[in-house]
Amino acid sequence: MEDAVVCPNCGEQNPADMPFCQHCQWRLRTLEAEWGTDQEVRPSNAPASPQRDKSEDASVPDWLRASRSQASHDSAAFGGRLEAGRQPAAPPSDDDLLAGLAQQDQPQDEEIPDWVARIVGMSESGSPGQAPSSENESELLEGAPPADQAPSAEHGIGQEESQSWARDSLPLATDIGPQEGANRYADAMGTQESGTEKSEINEWLRNLDAAAAASPEPPAGPGLSASENVPTWVRRMTGVPDGQPQETPGPADPVPDWLSGSPGRSGEPVSAPPSSLGIPTRSQGRPLEATDKASGEAPAQSATSAAISRGVVPAFPLEDIQKLDVDAVFASMQMPVWMAGVNPPEATSVSDLPPAAQEEEPIAPADLPSWVRAMRPVVSGVDQAAKLEADKHLEGRGPLLGLQGVLPALPGAALPSGRPESHSMKLDVSERHRAHARLLESMIAAETQPLPLQGTGQFRSHRMLRWAISAILVVGLGANVLTGARNFPLPAGVPNESIAGIQAVESLPPDATVLAVFDYEPATVGEMEATAASLMHHLLLLKHPRLAVISTSPTGSALAGRFLAGALADRAYMRGVHYVDLGYLPGGLAGVRSFAQNPTAAVPLGASSEQVWDSSVLLGTRRLSDFAAIILLTDSLESGRVWIEQTAATRGTSPLVMVASAQAGPMLLPYFDSGQADGLIAGLNGAAGAEIANNGLPGLVRRYWDAYSLGLYLAALLITLGSTWHVGIGIRERRAETA
């Protein structure tokens, strides 16, 4: 004999004496082999005597042996369930799953039920001791199906008929008719009760008896019809009185004795017993549904009555449910938080509802949002009918061999049906959204685009206005210059600052060294030369000074040469002889400060890199104070301010006379009023007095004065007319808007 057996299912090794695989519970030995080797494991209907087994093994054919093994297996499963209901504390053996069944069936060894004997064919074999008593036999005859539906031992069928009948009786209870299943259950109950009247009754059945005894006698089922082939004891059990008129008279079935002590005896409802193999049937699985519909609808009543007629007693009787205070039951329950805030809907009676609503179902299916339906698992969508159909799948292999509906055999159950449906992340953009997006993009793009020009007509009018102004000025002033008209006299009054400047120049000693600073730009050459010409001409004419020319502008040196060679050409000042060009003084304020501190160090050479400090022009001149006067010709406030401030401490008593443009004059006037400057000639108005004082020489002011005055008048006229025009347009537009 081998020590280990290899499981054909999982391939693991198991001990040789193990009937099932320790890993996958696969049956390692057939029942036939098990019967022959292991006498401790036997079904509940197996013979108890080993001698009898041996004699039967020799005489029983193979088909009967197979039928016995199958029947023993089914009976063991059924008996195990019953025993589990009676004795839940009995632990099964670790070695053998059927060990508990053997112990359970010990008291019944001597009393094998007749229906079991019929299944296994023991009645035909004529084995004594297993024949049912006459009492039990009469009970079975009362509840048994007609003789033409189930063969009996009295018919004396042959071996072939017995074999086919036994084969037909082997399928599970789902293949057995309801009536036959109920009868078999009644047989089983009667058999058990007859063997163990007090101790073998299920505990749940005892409890149900006690509850039923306390409840009053329920009325007869409304749907129970006498026309149906229902035994009398079943009708009594369901509460139908015998004397009640029946639509169709039926045979009065006597109540069997084994049911005399059952709760249905007194007409009290009993809970539905399990099916013959403990698998709940449809009627058992929907007791509440049947009860609810039985409260007011005829189809439900017929269903209930049909269930009762089939011998299936509902687990929850209709009377109990009607008497049950549902509100009290729910009030005693602790509601979850999310349900606590739900207000109950207003109670509306059925009669108050419109007719259309009364016809509808009491509980309408909820209208779930689309996203909720999308989130529901796919399993929930499986058709219930298909599920029930799949529950009929019969296990053909493995430890669940012969069982039905134990494992869900849903189509596609192996697939990950609970996986949520994948949704695309692509946005559902409508045309309206696209339009909004395009609008937003255009708005963002418009931020980076330059503002378009205004209307062409307006732009053209502006350009025409500019051209008109230019034309008026050019034509008017050009005509005045070209004609040489003298229509505008010079101003009679001479400003005080101009008089002070002229006096400062006149106070200089003859042949003195004068520093002339040319700090103006070529743009203002016309105005600056005309403004400075009279003063410089007056100076050169009266004092014949030696000039040192310097500039903080790169073009200053050239402008100085232009001025001396142009406006003062009649003075015939020669460079190197009458004046020296110190050139460009860089550094701005620092350069001016440095030059004020030490002129020879700041500008050691002239503009042409010649030695200027040792020349005859600057002879004896080494410091700023050695210059007899400083004539500052500037067109900017900054330049005048720097020369005034940075040379104030070093120039000593030398006067500083400023010649400024009309633009910079008013800003430099405070330096004259404060005494920091000794004279100021600003613009043509200031230069007019100096020219008058110089006997009209060199005459530049007089030459420019008419054009200058005419230009001022034209400018004032254009500004006045233009402003008046725009004010009128503005007023008209406002009136139009107001209107």
């Binding site: 009679a492 743009a523 016309g526 620092a590 001022l712 400018a715």
Partner: protein, 203 residues
Amino acid sequence: MRVLAIVLAVLSGFVVLAGYFVPTFTEIQIVLLNWAIILAGAATIVGVFNLILVHADRIHKREKGGTYSGILLIALFAAFLLGLVLGPGHADMRRLVNAVVVPAETSLMALLAVSLIYGSVRLLARRPDLMSVVFLATAVLMLLASATLPFGQASALNDFIRPWIQHVLALGGARGLLIGVALGTLVTGLRVLVGADRPYEGA
């Protein structure tokens, strides 16, 4: 390096400032100022090189206005070469300035006169408020007062109104501006001296 720059700047500022009041620091002040003049001249050269690079890049990329950049560079190198050869005091150099620079800038100043008149005409159209009216009225008044009446002597505007406006209103405003500029310069100088402002660090 940063601390060293701050120390040098502050120390130089205090030395130059002390040179105005203490004769001892005058020589040091002169030296520092001469350094500043040299650096300013070098900065001018750097500016000229930057001008050349910018316009040369514009020509290389064939950008809009590249022709004018070419003319600018040609004029620049021509003037530079003539200045090196002839010298800035040469008669031809002065003739060049008088024939090119002075007319060009004077023409720009004339355009400025036209633009100012145009702007004054459009002022009330763009901002018609009281200050614009006051501004235009003052401008027109000073224009008329600065000129003399044709075919006659100076009017009251030229003899009384214009001097009064120039010596009262304009002088007061100019003094206020100069005082403001002086205070701003003083504060800025003190901040640079104490290191609060460090314009020499750049950026």
